[in-house]
């Protein structure tokens, strides 16, 4: 029986009175790739934010390796090894690519040189632009920088919010290669993806988030075999 790394137990979360997530129950198991799919604006990003401590959890619990993390500060959650690569432009615009990557290792600066090397090898465009300020990068390059920065943090659980958004197809392949490699090495991955088809065959577990609730959970192959679910929620 594989342990759950991250347990979300009937957690609800929201912003100033408005409940976005309603009694969510899911687990990201250690060493597995768990995918959250679903239509836009239905709570996927809010879920990751709640796990990272950026959005308050109004009821229920979130546990990491059995210990509660839902009342912790965001920096404490990062210290415990839960790293998020957020959607949207959350780079430090006046810092160079290099400095942004260094900030990624802020909480965990061991083995800095190797990790930097790894990120530059994986994403050579970043190496090319290492001294450029992040605010001047193209949309896709910013995405790559965000992912590279997340990889710099190490950690036990890596959460990615739509990593493929705005990336050239070949880069998407490379990013997924890395994600699958990380999984092979035992990292727990929580992935929010628009493109259910792409992730279905690779994810160990898929959860469908619709209107702030888990509408369906199961294996990728099962999801693809249920066209009515795919049609209703994902509009494929």
């Amino acid at each position: 029986m594989v342990d759950a790394a991250l347990d979300i137990i009937n957690a609800s979360a929201g912003y100033s009175g408005r409940i976005v997530l309603d009694a969510i129950k899911l687990s990201a198991r250690k060493g597995e790739l768990t995918a959250i799919v679903g239509p836009n604006g239905h709570g996927k990003s809010t879920l990751l934010k709640a796990i990272s401590g950026l959005v308050p959890v109004t009821s229920g619990e979130i546990r990491l390796d059995g210990l509660r993390i839902d009342r912790l500060r965001p920096d404490q959650i990062v210290e415990r090894g839960v790293i998020q690569v957020p959607q949207g432009d959350l780079l430090f615009p006046a810092m160079t690519v290099h400095e942004n990557l260094l900030m990624g290792a802020y909480a965990n600066s061991g083995g800095l040189a190797e990790r930097l090397d790894f990120v530059f090898t994986l994403l050579p465009k970043l190496k090319e632009r290492r001294n450029q300020t992040a605010g001047t990068l193209s949309g896709g390059e910013r995405r790559m920088c965000g992912i590279g920065r997340g990889l710099m943090a190490g950690g036990e659980v890596l959460m990615l919010d739509e990593p493929s958004l705005g990336l050239a197809p070949i880069v998407i392949e490379q990013i997924y290669e890395v994600i699958f490699n990380l999984r092979r090495e035992g990292r727990t991955i929580l992935l929010v993806e628009e493109n259910a088809e792409r992730i279905a065959e690779h994810a160990d577990m898929i959860h469908l988030l619709d209107n702030g609730r888990i509408a369906w959970s199961g294996l990728g192959a099962e999801l693809m075999a249920r066209p009515e679910i795919v049609e209703t929620y994902l509009g494929v």
Partner: protein, 292 residues
């Protein structure tokens, strides 16, 4: 030529004092989005603590300066815990903290009024003597002030660029949420910035009062000028603020000479208005087109 040297010397001194007063204000605005209206009062407090330390406690001037900086750093921390922290959790932080710090500044000012009386007191931390360039006699005090300011600014620059604390401060100013996701303890950054700002204000207050005198209300004018510098430079831009402060100091010295002291402030403000019409976000402000 002599006049020029005189103006430049005065201007640099003024600029240096403004620069030290402004750095703290700029840092606080950049990272917390907070206009600290108690800045002037803390500045004044620094001057008085230094005076009290030398005259009443018999401390060596350097120790007195350090004591003043320390006390004001603690005041900065106090502001964080008593006002900024609770208000951050609510809506309308910017407006509320603005008003709250006006209150805090008022309290500090009145405490000094009560403690030291309303009459001007000379600041004992002064260096005697002069430097002579050509036919111009420049007080050593001015050179001393300039020296201290340069050292302080270099120290802040090194802090910001080379230390992880500094990087955390810069990251928080650029994008608070992203900084949190990197594991930056944002609350601690705020406290550090407010403490640093307090210490810098104290030094600035000591310097200013060493040329003028100590009165409980002396902080209002430098604070106003510090705000102007911040706005002209672009709110939150620390390096730009230093450049703008020096430029403003030189400008003030020049207009004081040409038009007389009573016109200098008005002229300054007029120039500021013109600059802001030309560049609404400040000279170095974030006015580039956002990459959509």
């Amino acid at each position: 030529m002599d006049v020029l040297i005189q103006i430049v010397a005065s201007g640099l001194t003024l600029g240096a004092m403004y620069a030290v007063a402004t750095i703290g204000l700029s840092l606080v605005y950049g990272s917390l989005n907070m206009l600290n209206m108690a800045h002037g009062a803390i500045l004044t407090l620094g001057g008085y603590i230094c005076y009290a330390a030398i005259v009443h406690a018999g401390l060596h001037p350097v120790l007195a300066l350090l004591a003043a900086a320390l006390v004001c750093a603690l005041v900065g921390l106090l502001i964080y815990f008593s006002a900024a922290l609770p208000l951050l959790r609510a809506e309308n932080f910017e407006t509320n903290i603005f008003i709250a710090t006006i209150g805090i500044g008022s309290v500090i000012e009145n405490l000094m009024l009560k403690g030291f009386g309303p009459y001007p007191i000379p600041q004992p931390l002064a260096v005697d003597g002069q430097v002579v360039i050509g036919n111009v006699h420049i007080p050593l005090q001015n050179v001393f002030i300039l020296g201290v300011a340069i050292v302080l600014m270099a120290a802040v620059a090194i802090l910001l660029q080379r230390t992880s604390t500094g990087r955390a401060i810069r990251a928080t100013s650029m994008n608070r949420e992203a900084a949190q996701l990197m594991g930056v303890r944002v609350g601690r950054v705020y406290a550090q910035v407010l403490a640093l700002s307090g210490a810098l204000a104290a030094v600035s207050g000591i310097m200013i009062s060493s040329i003028a005198t100590l009165t409980p209300v002396m902080g209002g004018d430098p604070m106003l000028k510090a705000f102007i510098v911040c706005v002209v430079a672009g709110l939150g831009n620390v390096y730009g603020a230093v450049i703008a402060a020096i430029a403003l100091g030189l400008l003030e010295a020049a207009t004081q000479y040409v038009l007389g002291v009573r016109w200098s402030f008005a002229t300054l403000l007029l120039l500021v208005i013109l600059v802001l019409i030309w560049r609404p976000y400040g000279l170095f402000g974030k006015q580039q087109v956002v990459r959509l």
